[in-house]
Amino acid sequence: MTLDLMKVVSELRRLVAVATADQSNDAPAFVSLLRHFDDREVRRRVEQARTSWLLATALGSYFERHGAPSVPPNFACVATDGSLVASDRHGPLTFAIVNIGHCVLEYGARAHAQLGSEPTVLWRDDDLWIADGARRIPVAGSALAVRRAVMELEAAWNLATKQDAPVVVLQDGTLIPWGLEGQLAPVVSWALERFGAALATFRERKIPVAGFISYPGSRDVLNVLRVAACDYPLEGRPVNCDDCTLRVQRGERQRACRIVPELTDRWLFRHCDEVRLEAGERSGCYRSRSTILQHLPEPDRIVFFYLHTGTEVARVEVPLWVAEDEQVLALVHAVVWDQCRRARGYPLALQEAHEQAVIHQDQRRQIESLLDRLFAETGVVQERSAKERSKRVRFA
């Protein structure tokens, strides 16, 4: 046996106990905080706050709610999703295969669907290396993820521009390239140049693109409630988490924000009566304070709202220009809600694009054996690392 489950069960039991202890939504202090939430005061506090967490900045008011608009008589939804096979460093070749699946769903007088996928092999120097003077930086990890995101956007662009009816482009997951935070400057600039260009093309044609995040773990709005609960402003000081933490560690005070549970925005909008979203409703739009977004032009910076999909509260991310255009935002809201209703809480077009993109385990093995054969045809026996061999030919 490689893992003794009996040795981990007691720790897992404690973990579950801690995770469920904070799920109460009726603590009087927290309920009172929500009921007496003052948008203007909180906005002022947020602007001055020094916190270690991400804070949402509301474009409108923090807890406004919008019912789902109707979809237009004719409209289309385009979704793309990518799957990746990257070579491992124990093999003789460096490459990546990106399979972009797409799904175009047209509704109305001319209902039609288009499903398919297009693979690309990245292996040339330009594909796999970022030149930084004499230095070469490999396109891997976060940079490769952005490369894939750009390919997904480009594929969606080609399909969306063929539509006559109003169209919404959906992407799976976040539109914020979080992975680039903390990366080397040449990597950030290489990745954002492509990503920014892709987003800009959509803006220029006024085609809205939205990222759909199922079961989001973000806490940007809940963190705003911590700022609202903070007692520093009552002492005439701006919110300062660093200072507060030091004083708590010295035993001088208790955190005033401890009344806010250590949960997620998803929980807030699903379970708290004061701000709960009903099926189809969305929250207001919020700016993210992600520093990586500062590299993008203002209209393409990503904002987000929460949507009750009928089965969960999901996070939907759109560029700022979408959120500022009432009609376009209503179209996104209506189409995402319509798509969720068609597929039990998750957009149908994204589900089908994923099905088209997915590279199954047996196909990954086929790629390996295909490479073995291609090497054999040239009379070369490919070498692998001893570590990799030891995993393939396990002996006792």
């Binding site: 799904c103 047209e106 209902a111 669907a113 499903l115 089908e352 099905e355």
Partner: protein, 209 residues
């Protein structure tokens, strides 16, 4: 004989063997009738003829389950129009049991020397071609021995009903077919009786008109 004829396509071979081939239809639910003849170009022969022995419609990916999409307000044809992707994620398949092949213009009532090639187009057989294929009853033995998801008496009944109609209510042909089946099953009285009873039930109303 028929090499130059244009055959309309209903689907293509997605699984193949000497005994049977599986066909995916071009259009969802556009399946040929149970017991009807289909044709596909063969390897080393001009064509392979089969009889539709089973059909089903399900998901393209066997790992995905079909779930309810409709409601009292959205049903049947309207449901498909409201969900255009269904025509891509679902598919209709049928199994054809090989009963003859054509080589150098001659029909041979044997399994083909090679399985029909994968991805080759499959066409329904119509009109005179059905008369030609059913000029003899010898192939009924192959149908009788075929073991598939459908009981063989059901398959035989479906086939005889189809041929009877296509041959414009050819009663003589039907009587000869019944005699041939009786002869083939004479050593197994129970089976013979079961098959002939099924045929009588299926064909009785046709014969009375």
């Amino acid at each position: 004989m028929c090499a130059s004829r244009e055959w309309s396509r209903i689907g293509e071979v997605v699984e193949t063997s000497t005994l049977q081939f599986v066909v995916e239809c071009d259009e969802l639910d556009s399946l040929p009738e149970l017991g009807s003849f289909v044709r596909v170009e063969g390897t080393g022969v001009d064509a392979v003829y089969g009889i539709v022995a089973f059909a089903e419609t399900g998901t393209v990916d066997p790992g995905r389950r079909v779930v309810r999409r409709g409601s009292t307000d959205l049903r049947d044809r309207a449901l498909y129009e409201a969900n255009p992707e269904l025509r891509f994620v679902l598919r209709s398949l049928f199994v054809a049991v090989a009963i003859a092949y054509e080589a150098a213009g001659r029909l041979v009532y044997l399994v083909p020397p090679y399985p029909p090639p994968l991805h080759y187009s499959v066409s329904p057989v119509q009109g005179d071609e059905i008369r030609r294929l059913t000029a003899t009853h010898t192939y009924l033995a192959m149908l009788l021995d075929f073991v598939g998801p459908i009981p063989c008496e059901q398959l035989l009944a479906a086939h005889l009903l189809y041929v009877y109609r296509e041959r414009r209510s050819d009663r003589d042909w039907l009587e000869q077919a019944a005699q041939e089946i009786a002869r083939l099953t004479k050593r197994d009285h129970d089976r013979s009786r079961r098959i002939l009873l099924t045929l009588e039930t299926a064909l009785g109303p046709e014969l009375q008109t």
